[in-house]
Amino acid sequence: MATNPSLSIDQVQLKVHADDWEDAIRVAAQPLVDSDNITDGYVNAMIQSVKKLGPYIVIAPGLALGHARPSAAVHRTGFAIATLRDPVKFGNKDNDPVDLVVILASVSDTDHLALLQKIVAFLNEPSNLRVLRNATTSVEAQKIVNQINGGN
């Protein structure tokens, strides 16, 4: 049963501070913890996944996709996005430092696909990435959220 999630403005944080890569994942994921989409256990699983498999989650220059396997630690499928005021290093040779963190949490292997497709379509456009990275206000955040949810 797909839950048809969408992105909401409180899941987007702009120019936040993170001490290091672990903190960046924690900070970016916090809105999903606050809304009870995920537990702290999921946040820890995302961090453990990087420790175990390496910083491959940095999938493009400056962009980390924090995620772990679907599990009981995910109550509802959701995404969160954070841009970092001060970029942090994940240890990825090609794509460090990271200033944009996207958190993905899904209740199943498929529940996140529709929204992920929209986020990917947004990230495909270099101009969108520029807008997101430069955004500082809630008005700009809302525009980005609307654009992603609208799927174009």
Binding site: I57, P61, H67, R69, P70, K93, N124
Partner: protein, 94 residues
């Protein structure tokens, strides 16, 4: 032709790669290409013509799979993916 995107867990980065590769081959009018995703631990049970992955995971690939594998550093830049993928697909069609 079968392409498999490989990531650590099989739900995140590989899915993004799959979406972008599907979009690229669709634009190219190649309707005989299927794209799947797996986690690295399952690679031996998933035969394919081309594997796509990241540099970190490539180092952990079984040796015999490496020649068939494309290493991507940018999973969201379709032009970059296309620049890696097209020569590999052309090689297979010779």
């Amino acid at each position: 032709m079968k392409i498999i995107a490989v990531c650590g867990l099989g739900v995140g980065s590989s899915v993004i790669a799959k979406m972008n590769i599907e979009s690229i081959v669709s634009d190219e009018g190649k309707d005989d290409v299927t794209v799947d995703t797996i986690d690295l631990g399952s690679i031996r049970s998933a035969p394919a013509d081309i594997y796509v992955t990241t540099r970190e995971l490539f180092d952990n690939f079984p040796e015999e799979y490496k020649a068939k594998t494309i290493v991507l550093t940018n999973f969201v830049d379709k032009n970059d993916i296309k620049a890696h993928l097209d020569p590999k697909m052309a090689e297979l069609q010779k």
